[in-house]
Point group: none
C-alpha cells in the first residue's frame, strides 16, 4: 500500500499537507506521540480525517516525515554553523556560539527524544533513520572537533562524542522547557563549561 501515498501537486493540496505536519508536530510536542491520534491531528490542521491517509501511510509515517525534515534542516544548518565557527579562535567562545546557534535548532528536536526510544521498537524504519542521521552528525562533528583541536587527536573521541551527544540532547530538552531567556543563557553557559572542560 506504500505506493498509494500521493504527493500533492496543487498549491492548496501542498498547503494541507503542511498543515497536517505542523499540527502533528505541535501535538506530538504537547502530548507525545502515543497520546495524539490522527483525527485530532486532522482537526487541528483543519482538514478531514481521510486526507491524513492520502498523504501518510500511518501515524508513524508522519512522525518519520517530521523527523526527516527537522533532521535534514538541522544537518544543513549545522554544517553552516560549523563553517562559520571554524574561523573563531577562542575555543570556549566557539563552543558557546555553537550552543547558542544550536539551541534554536535542537530544541525543535526535543519532542522527538521523548518518544523515539519507544517508537523505534515498534517501527523499525524510524529507528534506522534515526541511527543513520545520528551517524551523519557524528561524522560531521568529529571532523570538526579534530580540526579545532590542533595539537593531537582527542583520545576516545568516539565514546566522547557519544556521551556528548547524549548529554547535549538531554540538556536541550531541559533548556527547551525553561521559560526565562536569562535562565536559558545561564544553562547554556554551564553546558559550555561542561563540554569545554571535558574536551580540552
Amino acid at each position: 500500500m506504500q505506493q498509494n501515498i500521493r504527493e500533492p501537486k496543487q498549491k492548496r493540496a501542498i498547503e494541507k499537507k503542511e498543515s497536517l505536519i505542523n499540527a502533528a508536530f505541535q501535538l506530538f510536542n504537547e502530548k507525545g506521540f502515543y497520546n495524539t491520534n490522527s483525527k485530532e491531528i486532522a482537526k487541528k490542521a483543519g482538514v478531514s480525517t481521510g486526507l491524513f491517509y492520502n498523504y501518510f501511510n500511518d501515524k508513524s509515517d508522519i512522525f518519520l516525515e517530521i523527523l526527516n525534515r527537522i533532521s535534514e534542516k538541522n544537518y544543513l544548518e549545522l554544517e553552516k554553523i560549523l563553517e562559520k565557527l571554524s574561523k573563531e579562535n577562542d575555543k570556549k567562545q566557539l563552543l558557546k556560539s555553537f550552543f547558542i546557534e544550536n539551541i534554536k535548532l535542537l530544541s525543535e528536536l526535543a519532542f522527538i527524544y521523548k518518544d523515539i526510544e519507544t517508537i523505534k521498537k515498534e517501527y523499525e524504519e524510524i529507528g534506522k533513520y534515526r541511527d543513520k542521521n545520528k551517524q551523519r552528525i557524528k561524522i560531521l562533528m568529529m571532523s570538526f572537533f579534530n580540526k579545532i583541536n590542533d595539537e593531537e587527536n582527542i583520545k576516545n573521541l568516539d565514546i566522547k562524542w557519544e556521551i556528548i551527544q547524549t548529554t547535549i540532547d538531554a540538556n536541550y530538552i531541559l533548556i527547551s522547557k525553561l521559560e526565562n531567556k536569562d535562565d536559558k543563557l545561564k544553562f547554556i553557559d554551564e553546558m559550555v563549561c561542561l563540554i569545554y572542560n571535558y574536551m580540552f
Copy 2:
C-alpha cells in the same frame, strides 16, 4: 469503587502481585509503557487479567508502584554509597566509585526516563511523585558535593546539579544498553572525567 485496591495478605497472593510488578517492569523496559497492555502484563505474570485490577487501578498505577519502589530503594542505597564514599579522599576516585556503585541502581531506572515525560502529562500523580523524588535526591547530592568540596561553595550548584542529573540520567540509559562490560567501564571512565572536570 475506584480505590477498592486490595493489599494481598496471603503469601501466594503477595507473590502474584510481585509477579505482576516484575512482568510490568520487564515489558515497560522492552516495549515502553504505551506499547504494553494490562492483558499482556497479566499473561506474562501467569495470572488472569482480572487479578491485575485487584491490585492496581490501572496501568499508570502499576507504573507508579514500580517507580515508587525503585526510587525508594535507590534513595536508600544512594545514602549508603555517599556515606561510604565520604571517607575517600581522592575526588576523582570517589566519583568513579560513585558511578560504578550507582550504575547498578540507576540503570534500573532507565526505562522510566524513556516514557515518563509523556506519562506525566497524562497522569499528574506520577509527575508529582517524580518531582518530589528528584528534589529529595538533589538535596542529598548537593549536601554531599558541598561536603567534599572543602574550599568554598561551588558556584551555581543548583543549576550545575540540574545539568549533572540530566546528564547522568541520559548517559545511564546509554550505558545500560551496552552489552559488553569493558565498554561500560570505558563509558563510566569518560563520565567521571566529564563530571569531574566540570565540578572541580
Copy 3:
C-alpha cells in the same frame, strides 16, 4: 447446582445469612438491583464474598429471598389488619386505617417495584413468584371488599382491584420517599379519598 445451597444451622451461621439479606436489602433499596454487586453486599454484611454463594445461588436468588420474606410477612400482616378492620363500620375510616397500617409494610416493598419489571424478564422464577403473590393478595382483598360492601357486588371488581393495586403500589413509593410525617399523613388522606370515592 441448586442443591449446593446450604441452609445454615449454627446460630452464628444463621446470623451471617441474615446479615447478607439485610445488607442486600439496603443496597438494593439505595442503588437498585443492577448497581449492587455481590462483593459489596458481602462487605456490607461483614462476611466474605465466597460465603454469599454458600447461601445463595446468585444475585437473583437473594433478591427472591428478600421478596419472599417481605411478601410472606406482609401477607400475614395484611390478614391480621383485615381481620381487625372488619369490625369497623365507617368505611372511610376503615380505609384510612387500612392505609395507615399498611404503609409500614408496603413501603418496605417500594424498592422491589423499582426493579422488578426488568428483573422479571431476566429471571422467570421471580416473575412467577411475584405473580403468585399478587394473585394471593388479590383474592384476599377482593373477598374483603365484597364483605364490607354489603349491598351488592362491586362491578368489575377484578379490573378495579388491578387498578387499585397498581395505584397503591405506585403511590406507596411516592409516600415512602417523603421525609416529613405530616406530609405522609396528608398524602394518605388523599389516597383514602381517591380509593374511597372510586369504590363506593
Copy 4:
C-alpha cells in the same frame, strides 16, 4: 475528548443515528436499560459498535436522548389535547377523551418509568431532566384543572396532582401491557372513574 459527539449532517448518517435510537428504544422497552448493551443496540440498528460512540457518549446518553425526544413530543401533544378539550363541557367525557388521547402518547413512556428511578441515582443529568419535565407538565395540568373546575379552586391541588400523576403513570404501564383493545378501553373507563370521582 469526552464531548466530541458528532451531529451527523449527511442524510445516511442521520438515518443511522435514528436507527440507533429506535433500536435502543425497543431494547430498553423489551429488556430494560440494564440488560441492554451498546453492542446489542448497534447490532439491532445494523451498525458497528464504534458508530454508537460517534453519536453518544455512553448508554445513559442515548437514554437521555430518547427521554428528551419523547418528553418533548408528548408535551407538545399534551398542549394540543388540552386546547382541544377545553371546548368540551361534560367533564367526565372530557377526562375520558383526555385519557384516550393520552394513552397513545404516554404508553411510549412506560419503559422509562421502569428503570428511571435506578438510573437517576447513577446519572444525575437524567434525574434533573426528568424532574424539570415533570414540573413543566404539572404546571400545564394544574392550570387546566383550574380552568375546567369553574366553581372554586380545588383544595390541595398540588398534592392531588402528584398523586394523579403517579397513578396515571403507573396505570399506563399496566394498560400498555394489555393486548386486547377492549380491555384497554375498559381500563381507561375505570381510570376515568377513579380520577373523576377523586377530583370533582
